[in-house]
């Protein structure tokens, strides 16, 4: 069986700075989103439990050829990559179409894992769209996944309850950060990652644009930033502003 994990390359969010309210992305290192790393770890654990093969699928700019090493070091066996530098900020609909096309090239797919949301866009659409394209059952927001024979059991966490869902493989699952603690690869694993197979897929990346971004700016923050020396003074100020009326 093949386990597929979809991971998105994003700029390291900790390194993004804002100037004149605009995000500065040049020179920011690329990595995978944190929750995508949870998805990968979930895949590695399932692979270890079921003796499967783990394939990472990713769509992104050419830098991905480098970034993908992180995933190969952390336990993926091979990578299917769709690289294109022109596409820049790809829309969820296009990413989903390309990911689905890549998955169609893989035989005997048992489970397809996603993060609950990508680190930068966090729209939570791509997994659902891929499930729709492939016509597969899906279970979102998983906090645990078990595979027994050809049945997957997923416990998922909603706002007010947990649901235990079951489906025959293949299934699409998206995970939340709580599902596991991603492992940190060792140097030898990183060295071996360089030699793991990478498949570069030639797919037509042009897609219809469905969205338009009118602006994207850091919110204007106009706080008073008044320094206060003591608790007593602080409480007095808050009192005067009518914030402590109770």
């Amino acid at each position: 069986m093949n386990i597929v994990v979809a991971m998105k390359q994003i700029p390291d969010l900790q390194q993004i700075r804002i100037r004149n309210r605009k995000p500065i992305l040049d020179d920011v290192a690329l990595t995978f989103g944190n929750i995508d790393k949870n998805a990968l770890e979930a895949g590695v654990q399932l692979k270890e439990a079921t003796g499967s093969n783990l394939i990472v699928v990713s769509v992104g700019t050419e830098a991905l050829e480098d970034t993908i090493k992180e995933a190969l070091a952390a336990g993926a066996d091979e990578a299917y990559l769709v690289l294109d530098d022109e596409i820049g900020d790809m829309e969820s609909s296009s990413s989903a179409r390309l990911i689905a096309e890549a998955i169609k090239k893989i035989d005997d797919v048992g489970i397809i894992l996603f993060g609950e949301g990508s680190g930068d866009n966090y729209s939570g659409q791509v997994g659902s769209r891929v499930a729709a394209i492939l016509g597969l059952p899906q279970a979102g927001y998983a906090k645990s996944i078990n595979i027994n024979g050809n049945i997957a059991t997923v416990t998922r966490s909603l706002e007010d309850c947990e649901e235990v869902l079951e489906a025959e493989l293949p299934i699409v699952v998206s995970v939340i950060a709580d599902i596991n603690e991603p492992r940190i690869p060792s140097v030898t694993q990183i060295l071996k990652a360089g030699r793991k197979p990478k498949e570069m897929l030639e797919l037509d990346v042009t897609g219809d644009s469905m969205l338009e971004t009118i602006s994207n700016l850091a919110p204007e923050m106009q706080r008073k930033q008044i320094e206060i020396e003591t608790i007593e003074k602080l409480l007095k100020v808050l009192e005067n502003e009518g914030l402590l009326r109770r």
């Binding site: 100037r19 020179d27 290192a29 060792s186 140097v187 030898t188």
Partner: protein
């Protein structure tokens, strides 16, 4: 989880700073199998420098490197500012040679430069693993055989210690003694972003011209050290360097970060950084430098380069280390390339390193600057003379309500016989630098 790589490298380089990357680039260019282990998130992430790289001495060592290197600005204007407590005297130097290609020196940002240099080394075939810290050396029968990193055993013909000023690797190999705090200075630095236009206006810069400013005296509270400012494309590197000893000998102890804050509040500085945003703050230890601070440079299966070897020169107001780091990395690489030809990685096989260094500007500089530190530790230089210079200037320029005093008596007021004598002595000491 211990695991062993069945691979054996020609060289493992500990530390992906300038020394390590220069060595990796050089070795990989000739086809050697090189592994660089860097503990930071990426190369340059933790590296601190003032920010001025002198290219002349190393240009020829890496002929293909400079065209596309992310250099910020070439330094076309030099200033030294002698700071008293309330006044200061600035000397500005512009020379046509500063404005002619090939330019002598550039401001750089390590975050960008190191990351780029790492890419170049990788392009040549070096393998770089970041977020990976070397915890120990593998030593068998007195010979260094490789390193331990996060439970992994990694083997190589040679290990090159490029792990910076407090080099744990060189110590572990018995090439250096544990460091004494009194032999070190500390540097604090901020990168302050400014709109490009504002910056060029403020410093009178055209195109890619840049400015370097050094500050003596009150910048380091009259202690051995000083302040520096370099202009980058869209930011300023601003910092101070001060001896650890000088800080701790005062009661209450001087807190170095506060020194930088105070320095920033000086009107001379404030107006230069106004409206800027501090985007990076860093602190770093600086080796005292000089020949005396140098340990052994190589042993069986090991070489030491860059700050790890002590190739850094602290002349108070500024530190020079980057070009020594890159050059020593280069020569270490040459020594390994030579050793591989002879298939001898013992001390004898690696001895070419020392010969190469001795014939290069690196050791020649360190020999000729042997005396510089003692001279510079002369306290009057950082406290007394800055006050003196400021006071003379004040009296020269001041037009009081009453009649202005004659020039000679004004100067005489400050230049007692004792003063003159000590200046002569200082002059003699300075000649040795």
């Amino acid at each position: 989880m211990e695991s062993q790589s069945n691979e054996k490298f020609d060289a493992i380089i500990v530390g992906g700073g300038l020394a390590g990357l220069a060595a990796a680039y050089t070795m990989a260019s000739t086809g050697l199998e090189v592994l660089v282990l860097e503990r930071g998130d990426y190369c340059g992430s933790k590296n601190v420098t003032g920010g001025r790289l002198y290219l002349n001495p190393i240009r020829e060592l890496f002929p293909d490197l400079w065209k596309k290197a992310p250099l910020e600005r070439y330094i076309a204007h030099e200033e030294v500012c002698i700071m008293g407590k309330e006044r200061s005297l600035t000397i500005r130097y512009d020379g046509s040679e500063l404005n002619q290609e090939p330019y002598q020196s550039y401001s750089i940002l390590r975050g960008k430069f190191d990351k780029w240099l790492a890419k170049q080394a990788e392009r040549k075939g070096a393998i770089l693993v970041t977020k990976s810290r070397v915890d120990d050396l593998i030593i068998e029968n007195g010979k260094v055989m490789g390193v331990m990193a996060g439970g992994d055993e990694l083997r190589a013909n040679v290990v090159i210690a490029c792990d910076g000023v407090l080099s744990f690797v060189a110590q572990r190999a018995g090439l250096r003694k544990p460091a004494q705090p009194k032999n070190f200075a500390v540097g604090f630095k901020e990168i302050i972003e400014l709109d490009r236009g504002v910056l060029e206006n403020r410093f009178n810069l055209e195109g890619d011209e840049g400015a370097a400013r050094l500050f003596m005296g009150d910048a380091s509270a009259g202690k051995f050290g000083g302040g520096f400012l370099y202009t980058n494309k869209e930011s300023i590197s601003l910092g101070i360097v001060v001896g650890i000893d000088a800080l701790t000998e005062e009661t209450p102890e001087i807190k170095a970060p506060e020194l930088l804050d105070k320095f920033k509040q000086r009107p001379e500085i404030l107006k230069l950084i106004k409206g800027g945003e501090t985007v990076e703050y860093s602190a770093h230890v600086i080796p005292e430098g000089g020949l005396k601070a140098m340990g052994k440079l190589y042993g069986d299966g090991i070489l030491v380069a860059g700050d790890a070897a002590g190739f850094s020169m602290n002349i108070g107001v500024t530190v020079r280390g980057m070009e020594y780091a890159m050059a020593s990395g280069y020569y270490a690489a040459q020594a390994v390339i030579e050793a591989k030809k002879q298939n001898d990685f013992t001390q004898t096989g690696l001895a070419t390193y020392e010969t190469l260094l001795k014939n290069s500007f690196v050791m020649q500089d360190f020999n000729s600057f042997k005396e510089s530190l003692e001279v510079l530790e002369y306290p009057r230089l950082f406290q007394h003379y800055p006050e003196l210079a400021g006071n003379i200037m004040k009296d020269l320029y001041e037009v009081p309500a009453g009649p202005k005093a004659k020039l000679f008596p004004t100067i005489k007021k400050y230049m007692s016989m004792r003063e003159m004598w000590s200046m002569v002595q200082l002059g003699r000491r300075m000649m040795k630098i």
